[in-house]
């Protein structure tokens, strides 16, 4: 983006901060979505590496290097996402809650999914950085966590992300899910056992259906904030206990 367009955009954010919630609040959401996109690219590049897909434009060495760099970039964005969430006083999230699951009062289950995904990501990166010093088998087992990390991160975004009602966010998540589903399908085709292939495809299809149903009956419905575990004191004082959506955004 040219600098002439970048600075007005930054001005918009700063101007918004003068009236609305803290800029950290927006930063947390934006970096979370971008981190999920980067994780999607990482998964796709990783599967492409396993499938030995290469082209003139993207030789194996380049693809492998990109896989490493994009995953590190995703971790950097996740760190910014965590720090901005912790520093933003709105939800009162503590730093320990970003690492230890079920230690937060704010939407405990959905926030814990993010903590679990973060822990998995840290394990993935650390074992990859120490790959030459640990057995290949151990590295491989931990690396398989990557396939579990992505859907957990997606559900964390859908459940905790208060922006999951925005249509363009849903479209973005759907596009990421399509890319990952395609990558997983490609990976399953490489599996030697047809039983594993069938089980994997069935699991992927079940996950996609479960996610669609969850979005339809969860975040898209009124009163999701209360059902997700937002503390009553944050739901607005209109009818915090009755579950009636208040007029604040938190009650939706």
């Amino acid at each position: 983006m040219p600098g002439g367009q970048l600075w007005p955009a930054a001005g918009h954010v700063l101007a918004a901060s003068s009236y609305g919630p803290s800029p950290l609040w927006y930063t947390a959401r934006a970096t979370g979505v971008v981190a999920l996109i980067l994780l999607t690219i990482t998964v796709a590049l990783g599967v492409a590496g396993t499938a030995r897909l290469s082209s003139q434009l993207l030789p194996g060495v380049v693809r492998s290097g990109l896989h490493r760099n994009v995953s590190l970039l995703a971790v950097a964005f996740v760190v910014v996402h965590v720090l901005s969430s912790v520093l933003d006083p709105y939800a009162g999230i503590k730093l320990i809650s970003a690492i230890v699951p079920f230690s937060s009062a704010y939407r405990p289950f959905w926030l814990s999914l993010g903590a679990i995904a973060f822990d998995m990501l840290l394990a993935l990166v650390l074992t990859s950085l120490l790959r030459s010093r640990i057995p290949y088998r151990a590295w491989s087992v931990v690396h398989w966590l990557g396939y579990a990390c992505w859907p957990i991160a997606l559900w964390h975004g859908l459940g905790t992300g208060t922006d999951s009602r925005l249509s363009w966010v849903l479209i973005l998540f759907g596009a990421c899910a399509l890319v990952v589903a395609g990558a997983v399908g490609t990976r399953l085709n490489l599996a030697a056992s047809s039983l594993n292939r069938t089980a994997g495809l069935a699991g992927t299809a079940a996950f996609v259906v479960a996610t669609i149903v969850f979005v339809a009956v969860g975040p898209l419905q009124p009163g999701w904030a209360r059902r997700a575990g937002t503390p009553a004191s944050m739901l607005g004082s209109a009818h915090p206990a009755s579950g009636t959506p208040g007029r604040t955004g938190a009650a939706r």
């Binding site: 983006m1 934006a30 004191s233 955004g249």
Partner: protein
């Protein structure tokens, strides 16, 4: 032999350069996307679009602000009330609204009925002759 090593070295450097270039592009794109999404959230999520709260700061009760169409469409937890004092964690939520304009505590003073005297005719302009 030397030629072969030289060619391999050049190819390696070229590929490392391509990794670096693509990584920089992705990093820049991610940063720009992050900024753009932050801006989009700032416009789409309530709290930004509602700039005048309907709360009553003097009593400390939560006065809901009129929700805009965009705030109704999104599922944000961003506060839209003009509340300034809340309990518990929502007390920190009130910090989000510290820039919000609060309604005046008292009604504005009524203007006096006595009309103001007509302003005097403006003084004649002083013509300077440049100090002479």
């Amino acid at each position: 032999m030397q030629e072969h090593v030289y060619r391999a070295s050049r190819r390696r450097d070229e590929r490392l350069g391509r990794i670096r270039k693509l990584s920089l592009w992705i990093t820049g794109g991610a940063a720009a996307a992050s900024l753009g999404m932050g801006t989009a959230f700032a416009h789409a999520i309530p709290g930004h679009t509602v700039t005048t709260g309907g709360g009553t700061p003097a009593t400390g009760t939560a006065g809901p602000a009129p929700a805009t169409s965009s705030s109704a469409a999104s599922g944000s937890t961003g506060g839209t009330t003009g509340t300034t004092t809340q309990q518990g964690s929502s007390g920190s939520a009130g910090r989000h609204h510290r820039h919000r304009l609060a309604p005046p505590a008292s009604a504005p003073a009524t203007p006096k009925a006595t009309p103001k005297p007509a302003p005097a005719a403006p003084p004649a302009p002083v013509v300077s002759s440049g100090g002479s």
